[in-house]
Symmetry: C2
Subunit: 651 residues, 2 copies
């Protein structure tokens, strides 16, 4: 975002912002980008065999020798002339005289096998002149005086691997573009090839942009966030055959950024900018790219969700890309639009994708006019795979990181109906079906109970969809357990009223709810609940933070307020953590959260009432080993101690 000495009354990129030039379809943008870049030579470099694993061959390689290089014995035995022993049998053995030579591995035979002769030969030894077969030791007997008796006939070529029978000299061994795995390295070694030309990894410069970015490991100042894209883009470059060179994060200072971009691009084959969640940051980068070289920007704005603000450019033959700022958008567009180009520059074949069919359990709305890609987590139900959207908002890193894959909603559709059987493209080739599926409300206490399962190698998928969403999934048979904390207002009891046929209640633990405030705030410090609420309501400058409609805690808050609607009432975040963060960061002065969260945030806490965090268990899945392991873990002394230590009270 550009800055001026006096802040303008309007967002600097509001009405007057630089608009996207022309929004291209995903396919059109990719086609234009590729045609501006290819064909191009793939730079290569010599690599030794021991360093070649994972590299892509730059040239075709033909076999330069026969493998084996000579007619080789496959066993320890005797080299013979098959015609000599054509009549040999157990009853009437044939006697052969030994030449006196022993053919070891690695020593060339000196003696010719003439009629009636045989030579001792080791596995791997070269067949001597005159011999055409090998007889196993087991089918012979010593006959004294340097002779043996052979008790079986042998077909010509028996137990012999002929020269070139494995690999023939001149045959095409490996084609250019082959990625060298251990098996390919074995073929090269067998032919004695110690070095080869491989495609040089494209060097990809990565710059993050944005005043708000702090590198991992540094202290997080107020209003700043950690630079996620720098690390994730660098890693994804390495995963796709590139060599990332991360230059750090740059503030939106046009002169400094231009200098950094020019230096980075000069030393690299590709430049990727990311970050700049605000449109302003993007504008600075675009202006610079327009000066970096011809032809410049190819596509700015792609009808793709997530990923619309993607910018693709080619500057003096090198690709220059601005990824969208939010991590999921950045990574999705990187994989969808940049990886094909990167792999081609790296001499690698296109990435192979695995598709599975999965049912969408809920209606997924979509924006008409853009191809929309929805990240999904997969769970297995009786009816097959179920695809849960992992979206926690466009800015969420977990939307991408915790997804198994994605599905596509056509640009012409405005939603995907519940029950749709969709094609899901997996992020990794193997779908690992988890041993235990927990869908519902999340609690950090749950991680403690799952700890022994994880140690025992059992995998768990936990999807946080809230108590009611979890109950619905359990009823549909999509999960083993639904963690819930639902207060029945009429009876004042938790959870039991919400169970239906096929579900049974497994007691979990109690979470103490109470008022959270900043230490030293005289309106709350040392007060009772009643006095604290009274003090808050009496002070017009005192700001509360509420919870969302439907949350158990919200019911408690409404009771406390008894009809009052103080400032901040409409600030309604959806989690205990968000309430604590608002108070800690002075966006609010008080709210209601649970004790462990208040303590972790270093805040004061006035206890009020316990919330029951229990589990609705799908009865028909009770006997599954992972469910039984969970139930054992829940009741174990170890889990109970861990829960208590973390501030929960096991039921």
């Amino acid at each position: 975002m550009t800055r001026s000495a006096s802040s303008p009354p309007h967002p600097p990129h509001g009405a007057g912002q630089e608009q996207f030039l022309t929004i291209l379809s995903r396919e059109e943008a990719l086609a234009r980008f590729q045609s501006a870049l290819f064909p191009r030579p793939i730079p290569s470099e010599e690599r030794s065999l021991s360093e070649a694993l994972g590299a892509a061959l730059a040239d075709d390689i033909a076999a330069i020798i026969d493998v084996p290089p000579f007619d080789r014995s496959n066993v320890d035995g005797f080299a013979v002339r098959s015609a000599d022993i054509a009549a040999a049998s157990q009853a009437v053995p044939t006697q052969l005289r030994l030449t006196g030579e022993t053919i070891h591995c690695g020593t060339a035979p000196a003696r010719t096998i003439e009629a009636g002769l045989a030579t001792v030969i080791a596995t791997g030894g070269p067949l001597p002149r005159g011999a055409d077969a090998v007889v196993m030791v087991e089918h012979t007997q010593p006959a004294g005086d340097g002779a043996i008796e052979v008790r079986r006939s042998a077909a010509p070529g028996q137990l012999v691997s002929y020269a070139g029978s494995d690999i023939a000299r001149g045959e095409m061994l490996l084609r250019a573009g082959t990625v060298l795995g251990s098996r390919e390295i074995g073929m090269l070694a067998a032919c004695g090839i110690a070095s080869m030309n491989v495609a040089r990894k494209p060097r990809v410069a990565v710059l993050s942009t944005g005043d708000e970015l702090v590198q991992p490991g540094e202290a997080l100042r107020p209003a700043a966030v950690y630079d996620t894209n720098g690390a994730i883009v660098s890693a994804a470059i390495a995963e796709n055959g590139g060599e990332p060179v991360f230059h750090g994060a740059f503030a939106d200072d046009e002169a400094r950024l231009e200098k950094a971009m020019r230096a980075a691009l000069a030393a690299a084959d590709m430049l990727i900018l990311s970050g700049g969640t605000s449109k302003g940051a993007g504008d600075v980068s675009h202006r610079i790219i327009a000066r970096l070289g011809e032809p410049g920007i190819i596509a700015h704005g792609v009808a793709l969700k997530p990923g619309k603000p993607l910018c693709l450019a080619v500057c003096d033959g090198k690709p220059v890309i601005i990824l969208p700022g939010f991590p999921t958008s950045a990574m999705f567009t990187f994989h969808d639009m940049i990886v094909p180009v990167l792999r081609r520059m790296a001499g690698l074949p296109p990435r192979t994708e695995t598709l599975v069919k999965a049912r969408v359990p809920l209606r997924i709305p979509s924006e008409r006019g853009r191809a929309e890609f929805v990240m999904v987590s997969l769970v297995e139900a009786e009816s097959g795979l179920i695809a849960y959207p992992t979206g926690k908002g466009s800015g969420a890193i977990t939307s991408f990181a915790q997804a198994d894959g994605f599905l596509r909603i056509d640009a012409l559709a405005d939603h995907l109906p519940a029950g749709t059987q969709a094609d899901v493209t997996l992020f990794s080739p193997h779908l690992r079906v988890p041993d235990l599926v927990i869908i519902g409300s999340h609690c950090t206490g749950l991680d403690l109970v799952l700890e022994p399962l994880a140690r025992a190698g059992l995998t768990t998928r936990t999807l946080a969809v809230g108590s009611l969403g979890g109950l619905a999934a359990a009823k549909r048979g999509e999960s083993d357990l639904a963690p819930i904390h639902l207060l029945d207002e009429a009876s004042g009891t938790y959870n039991t009223h919400y169970l239906t046929d096929g579900l049974e209640l497994v007691p979990g633990w109690r979470r103490m709810q109470g008022i959270v405030f900043r230490r030293g705030d005289a309106r709350f410090e040392g007060k009772s609940i009643e006095d604290a609420v009274a003090a808050a309501l009496a002070d017009p400058a005192c700001l509360m933070v509420n919870r969302n409609q439907g949350a158990g805690t919200r019911i408690l808050i409404d009771r406390l307020l008894a009809g009052a609607r103080p400032d901040g009432y409409w600030n309604q975040p959806r989690s205990h953590n968000a309430v604590a963060a608002a108070v800690a960061q002075k966006r609010a002065d008080w709210g209601v959260t649970i004790a462990p969260v208040a303590h972790a945030a270093g805040l004061g806490f006035i206890p009020l009432a316990e919330e029951h965090y229990d589990f609705a268990l799908v009865s028909v899945r009770k006997d599954r080993p992972a469910v039984q392991a969970f139930l054992r873990a829940l009741q174990s002394a170890e889990s109970r101690a861990a829960l208590e230590k973390a501030g929960f009270r096991p039921a």
Copy 2:
């Protein structure tokens, strides 16, 4: 192999060799090996985030901050109190005064949003105190004098991502054992985690043993072979989470080998020996292992094919393994028996395997009493996948390297019937179905014709099963083309007589066959065919090399010999290359091969008659794009020139 000053009259490891102690089943051997090694601590080391790609986490990691760390605006717009604009509409906008502040990314807001106020906020900016929603610029109008008109109402929380809504502080981020890909690295970066403990890669010392071994890149002396296992085992260790340390190849000198093994093991977590195709070499290694530490050898001899001579030991807590000498046996046992142990030591989850169903086109014989694993290549027919055994003998590196996977024949069965639907375990998760399938006789000229297809990105699978095998596969619809060179003796014509309904002949090229001999051999140099054969038959010391029954060249040889059976007649290798190698290496003095092979081996050549190498095309597959591309390539001037240059004559 041990050596003594005077060679013994018998194979040194014949009747008196050290026998396998007890042959264990594969499952029993693996169970004993694992129980001698596990449980054991996994050594860990600190790794920076930028170096962590591919590493396995040593510890559970919980989120140390909320992500986002504050309530964040998702767009460029205005931070407002939703209650203030509850009645706003296009017709009746609500006017709000601006605070005069602009909240950029990275700067903490100073002003509170009181009733009737709004603040300019950038995407990613922190929501100011008092605000509970964000309004997009598009839904506002400047109203002069530091005010705006809002033309839509906003729900509480609109366009806001609450603190912790992506990742909540305290939540389990990643479990120990997770392999860090780019997505996991993104989650760690988002939480500001710059370094973490990861499992240290186990160091695996690799020694090759055998007098016959030469390292790739060195000159191949007579009777020697290149050390394939050293490179392939090292690469496979790296592919499975280990750090290979290759020590080179050692001759079978017990004292020197012991010294090397002790030094290698002391500096490593695991020791793998391979090579030693002869039983003698193995014996030396076994004797040494018995002295390296307790408990010593766990299993020596496993009822597994390939892989019987596998030896598993544990010496002072470290695994010590002797792999079978032949590359396919070594690699198969490595993957089947060693990888599970290596991955566990590396803190990695078990490798996931992909199974596919495929039909076996031919009867596969098997040895009763051993679980047998057969390497197969897969091709696609109308009826589904077909699994062709790739076996070129137990010593072949290509059996393993060119296979797509393997199938298992039970220890109790003595064969797998033709037509069996077998489970094939794939070596890599994706099965790439080739664009073009060629099954039949192989010729290096074929590689030249396929060159433009490879450049165009078309993949070809070529299986060398001989002309008759290729015709059978074509008739079963398993291939697109069958390369054949079959002489009809009666008519003296090639190939046409062998075609049946559904197949059509595509002319290929001619290969000049002739007599091959060592340059300077007066019996052949400068002679006509007739004189050369006469000279060979006249000299009792002159040794021929024949070809296998069924080869087109064999018919030619038998005609030349006109009933004579000179010494060497029963030496019947199956390829042109093997004939040239036998003559070059003086195991024979003459034979019949094709001109390009004779020239590549630096041998003399007397031309005799052309062989027709043509293609039987499966008519119903003629229109497939890859088949059309092949036919174009075959007729192209480029291919014809390349064939001629290599010594073939295009038809």
